[in-house]
């Protein structure tokens, strides 16, 4: 038995979330006394494929098919399931990002494998196979015991550190025939938002809320994000009144994120919002109201008007960046 990691790539490169999943897979394999194998797109460069050895894969198996260029949950899950069988893998690991959410549940059901979605830590195997995951939209954690011999884990992005060595992986082509009926989706258009930093991947996030008084005032927020190399986010009310796109809404009914640094500007910190961000390593809150509940969840706070504080802070960040790069 081995540990198999679904190694997703974009534009010819493995994603950050993939590297996290392979590192995690390596640790799980070590716990179980076995090897970590990565499953990747055979269209990638040989050097890119072998680079997964650095993060812990002993072998990279590849599958190539023209139709795999477009994402199709059914076809992808067919490939992963077949690869798991061919590599004799009992534990299958996905990054629980957008693609993982589409593919992993299908694979789990097909293999009748117990599945923990949104894992934030390594399994404890002293008594069963217990995996910690986020629950109640960030308000708590639950520990799931997987009772089946086959297991699927979806790893929450940004929850596991990437460590690397000089090792390389062997690359092996897997011969998997994908029946035509497995391709069920016809892609008409793909709109990429490349150039932006993916919110769920971002290590630094600058977020703002109703305290900004109107969408026309977001320039200084975007400026701060640009200086820091951060992604931008917002609170729900601001997305609901269309000041900002829905994709930026973090919170209980939006996206849950866990960056290293979350800067909240003009957001009071309702329980639903906190649920989406309270796993951030460091939280900075800037608010005019010193009683704002967000300060209770913050590491650093500034009581002050965003329209005065943010431009000054942008200047300070710019100065810091100039001195440190």
């Amino acid at each position: 038995m081995s540990v198999l990691v679904f190694a997703e790539s974009t534009n010819g490169k493995f994603k950050k979330s993939t590297l996290e999943a392979v590192c995690y897979g390596k640790q799980v394999a070590t716990l179980l006394g076995t090897d970590c194998i990565a499953l990747a797109d055979g269209a990638l460069d040989a050097s890119e494929l072998a680079s997964l050895g650095k993060v812990g894969a002993s072998k990279v198996v590849t599958v190539k098919h023209d139709n795999l260029a477009h994402f199709d949950a059914k076809a992808y899950s067919y490939v992963v399931t077949e690869a798991a069988n061919k590599t004799n893998s009992d534990v299958i690991i996905f990054s629980y990002n957008v693609s993982g959410k589409a593919v992993a549940p299908i694979v789990a059901a097909k293999l009748q494998a117990g599945f923990v979605a949104g894992a934030v830590g390594l399994p404890e195997i002293a008594n069963g196979f217990v995996v910690k995951k986020g629950a109640f939209s960030g308000k708590a954690f639950a520990y799931y015991n997987i009772k089946t011999s086959k297991k699927v884990i979806g790893l929450t992005p940004n929850s596991f550190p990437i460590t690397s060595t000089d090792a390389t992986a062997t690359v092996e082509v897997l011969d998997i025939n994908i029946p035509a009926e497995q391709f069920s989706v016809t892609v008409k258009e793909t709109v990429k938002t490349t150039g932006d930093i993916l919110l769920t991947d971002a290590e630094l996030v600058v977020s703002a809320g109703r305290g900004m008084k109107g969408p026309e005032n977001w320039g200084m927020i975007e400026e701060m994000a640009k200086i820091l190399g951060a992604a931008t986010a917002c609170s729900r009310p601001v997305a609901d009144i269309h000041w900002r796109p829905h994709g930026e809404h973090v919170g209980q009914t939006g996206i849950t994120i866990r960056p290293n640094l979350y800067i909240a500007i003009g957001i009071s910190g309702a329980i639903q919002h906190l649920a989406g961000v309270n796993q951030s390593k460091t939280i900075v809150v800037i608010n005019t109201d010193k009683e704002a509940p967000f300060f209770k969840a913050a590491d650093y706070g500034i009581v002050g008007d965003a329209f005065e504080v943010v431009p000054k802070l942008n200047e300070a960040f710019r100065k810091y960046k100039a001195a440190n790069h």
Binding site: K74, V103, V107, A117, S137, A142, N145, H246, L261
Partner: protein, 246 residues
């Protein structure tokens, strides 16, 4: 067109979460239960909109005990035509998906919709599992859905962007923000909800593949360090030297 919407119940979003029995059980005390927002606001409302345009029926289904009746009646009040409750404790996602798939397979639904995840266990599993167990195509995290004939056009989230694709029906689709706007039930809907047919059926034999052994609350922050708005350089220094995040 026959549409099935999978409905789960979840604690109201303002709920303060706590646990009992040495952190092995969720504390139900004083919890207000609602329809899982993604199931209601997006899956159910979009199903009703599609029915209003194309005709057909919208059925709702839940796996749960008698305490699920209020949730299903609320879905009726919003506009669902009828409902099924599979009488069992929804122990894990595979169990729930297996129950729904076993029932739904023989019913000839054109579309099976669910919310992108529940707001309590956030697993985003049931939709994909249903698709696998019913051997249907699956599109997850859909933000738009239209149907013409036996084909659905769907806009969905992909990593770092969005995709517009088409799929032959029947299919399973998980729904999120963008799909529809929440509807508030009117008096007529609330009155009609009482008499709409709600079928209760026994659970099929099925395994549970996972179990929750304990819960934990996140560690509390130790306290906020306040910095003067006139000394933002100090914040930058702390972020660099103390927190080490920049």
């Amino acid at each position: 067109m026959k549409i099935l919407v999978c409905i789960s119940k979840a604690p109201d979003t303002t709920t303060k979460i706590s646990f009992i029995n040495n952190n092995t059980e969720f504390n139900n005390d004083k919890v207000t239960w609602i329809i899982n927002p993604y199931d209601e606001w997006y899956a159910l409302v979009r199903a009703l909109e599609l029915k209003e345009v194309n005709g057909g029926t919208v059925s709702v289904i839940s796996v749960g005990g008698a305490d699920y009746e209020a949730i299903l009646r609320k879905a009726f009040a919003i506009g669902a035509d009828d409902g099924v409750r599979i009488d069992a404790n929804p122990t894990d996602a595979y169990f729930v998906a297996n129950q729904i798939a076993t029932y739904a397979k023989a019913q000839g639904y054109d579309l099976v919709l669910c919310g992108k995840e529940t707001i309590d266990y956030n697993s985003s599993q049931v939709g994909g599992m249903l698709a696998a167990l019913m051997d249907l195509p699956y599109i997850s995290l859909a933000t738009k859905l239209d149907v013409a004939g036996n084909e659905a056009t769907v806009e969905c989230e992909i990593e770092g962007g969005k995709e517009i694709c088409s799929v032959k029906l029947p299919a399973v689709i998980s729904c999120q923000k963008g799909m529809a706007e929440a509807r508030i039930p009117n008096m007529k809907g609330i009155m009609a909800a009482r008499t709409k047919p709600l079928q209760v059926i026994p659970a099929a034999a099925s395994e549970t593949l996972t179990e929750i052994v304990k819960y934990e609350l996140p560690a509390e922050k130790t306290g906020c360090k306040f910095i003067s708005p006139d000394n933002v350089d100090e914040l930058v220094r702390l972020l660099h030297e103390e927190a080490k995040v920049i």
